[in-house]
Amino acid sequence: MTDEQLTAEVEAWLAAHWTGAEPHHESFGRDPRSVWLAEVRDAGWAVPRWPAAWHGRDLSDAQGRLVEAAFARAGAPGAGQDRTNLWANTALAHATGEFRRTIVAQLLAGEVGMCLLYSEPGAGSDLAAVRTRADKVEGGWRVTGQKVWTSGAAVADYGMLIARTDWDVPKHRGISFFFLPMKQDGVTVRPLHQITGEAHFNEVFIDGAFVPEDHLLGPLNGGWSVLQTALAYERSVMGDRARGPRSGAGGAKGDLALLALAREAGRLDEPVVRQQVAQAIAWRALNALNTRRAKAELAQGSSSAIMSLGKLAMSRILHEEARVRTMLLRAGSLLEGPEHPRAEDANFLALNAYFTSIGGGTDQIQRNIIGERVLGLPKEPEVDRTVPFREVKAG
């Protein structure tokens, strides 16, 4: 099929199906657009690069991009999940059997809410130190432990869980990766108040919760490498986009928002302001160019070092944009409340920037990863790397 034919086919399909109505979507929990998303999935547009047997169309990366472009032009959601849907990609890569078939289909339509049960009070940057345990029982595992900072847990149907299944081997080798059903006795979710005033993340107490046999992803005790796949997806999405202002008070969106804000503040003729606005916009533009180049390199079949830079770059962008917004407002940034949407935005963004610089692996951990995996610099000595986990000091 030529590119033109493909674009024409997507456009024709959208013209026949998309009505333009998009219900409000909370970023967590079941997706209220799931009826539409199921249509997109069944038509093969959700994951066009995947095989036909898996809701896809076997398209090349470049053609997949054409599908996404057509959806973007129509303002319709749901395409391009083969690049962005962390849950579905992880399930397709590592789940097995009937469960794989059911869960992948549900995930593509947003029919199930998901959360990430990785971090624990004693295991944040050092995820291989998890102490939540999964013990083998008839037909599956019983899970006991505590997770924390779990975004979306309150409205989740499943959690992607890492838990220890062997205590007598070194820490990376005794972890398994599960889809834990959240709606059961034995799973208690308690919301945590965030610095933004919101409560998206939670503590999750797990006490003898049951995971069926076929909800194990990857080999038993092979969870560390499944986790790496999932983290890579998560980080690449975080490097590509982030939450914008919350006020909904209008004004320019995206790359040029700072320019519009500087004009609105009557400060666009100050050379120092112009320099700072230009530099912040430039960082965002450079990250987009890096992402584009990374995708082109991947499409040509070579690996791309640049892909791993996005999250670190995005973190700098978000902190800097919030700083520039604050600088523009001066003392105006001291206020909050609906009467003061610009201050609300600046302050919210200044706080929420940490979502990207801490969540999904901190900036420092990202620099370790870039230094070690991309540049090939040696790891730091790790005292606990080769010791059976049972003997590792905690606290």
Binding site: A252, L256, A260, Q275, A313, I370, L375, L377, P378
Partner: protein, 343 residues
């Protein structure tokens, strides 16, 4: 050109430079009277490099900014001291004019320099072309002392005029020789304002490519050193203070590469928004290279404070490129203005 064709173009140049423009060669050429190695120039001509952007009709390869930028990445990595950037800009300025100079440039027989003047001047010179006469002095003109011809590129067009005086300057970066050029003679217009503007863009893109390539190479050298040098019983690259600097520098150098390549593409496509892309590359690549060069010295420690170590050669090149065609603050301002115009 497709990526594999570009690779095929660049690879022999990289090999030639590895062989004929190694650090020892760079130092020899730096120390020479003119800063120009005629043999090396002929060897580059043999690969078609001197005629890269010269029209095919005049014996060149007729390639665009995209290919030029990639060759300049390689040249920058090797700190090539040669009038390559000047020649490529001259060829762009003269494209389609059929000037006899073009064929001589392609063959590597003559060397051209380019003086930006008037509305396109960043250097504080005072050259004016009026009544078919050029007067005044162009400042900091690269390669002018070894050039057989000097093009005047102004906001109105491209001119040829015989310089009255070429005064070589004592320069901090001896891999890029500069001169003041005084004019007081008839000036012949050879191309229009559009050609002049394009020549300006090509100059910026080529310089950006040179900076990106140099930053990549220097970072590689620094990371290699951080893997090998041991202190406290471990490689210094295993210390996070060093490792994290390296990770940040990778973001800088990769961003520079993306910016330079995107600007080149937009110059060739004549895309709307090209103005902003060129301005972005101008300051992003200059700043990235300066930062990589400066931090690399820190990451090496005392060894990089010696004349014998190459790190300072890169820092010198970074500092010269960062002022040559306007500084980063100026280009950040142009970038924002271009975005305002687009918005």
């Amino acid at each position: 050109m497709q990526e594999n064709e570009i690779a095929a173009l660049v690879e022999p140049v990289a090999r030639l430079l590895a062989d004929r423009c190694a650090e020892a060669d760079v130092r020899r050429i730096m120390a020479s009277e003119t800063g120009h190695d005629a043999d090396l120039w002929r060897a580059l001509a043999g690969l078609g490099v001197t005629g890269l952007t010269v029209d095919e009709a005049a014996g060149g390869l007729g390639l665009g900014a995209v290919e030029l930028e990639r060759v300049l990445e390689v040249a920058g990595a090797a700190l090539l001291p040669a009038p390559l950037l000047s020649g490529a800009v001259a060829a762009a300025a003269l494209a389609g004019t059929g000037e006899p100079l073009l064929a001589a440039l392609a063959a590597g027989e003559r060397v051209a320099a380019v003086a930006f003047a008037g509305a396109l001047d960043w250097s504080g010179g005072d050259v004016r072309v009026a009544g078919a006469r050029a007067t005044g002095t162009a400042r900091f003109v690269p390669d002018a002392a070894v050039a057989d011809a000097i093009l005047l590129v102004t906001g109105d067009g491209v001119f040829l005029s015989e310089p009255a005086r070429v005064v070589p300057l004592p320069v901090f970066d001896r891999t890029r020789r500069l001169a003041d050029v005084a004019f007081d003679a008839p000036a012949r217009q050879v191309a229009d304002a559009a050609a002049a503007a394009r020549a300006r863009d090509v100059a910026l893109v080529a310089l950006a490519g040179e900076q990106a390539g140099a930053a990549q190479r220097l970072l590689e050298m620094t990371v290699d050193y951080a893997r090998e040098r041991h202190q406290f019983g471990r490689a210094i690259g295993s210390f996070q203070a060093v490792k994290h600097m390296a990770a940040d520098l990778l973001l800088e150098s990769e961003s520079a590469t993306s910016a330079a390549r995107d600007a080149a593409r937009q110059v060739d496509e004549g895309a709307p928004g090209g103005e902003a892309a060129v301005a972005l590359a101008a300051f992003a690549c200059a700043d990235a290279f300066v930062r990589v060069a400066a931090d690399s010295i820190q990451m090496h420690g005392g060894i990089a404070f010696t004349w014998e170590h190459p790190a300072h050669l890169y820092l010198r090149r970074a500092r010269s490129g960062a002022q040559l065609y306007g500084d980063s603050d100026w280009w950040r301002e142009r970038y924002l203005s271009a975005l305002e115009e687009q918005a």
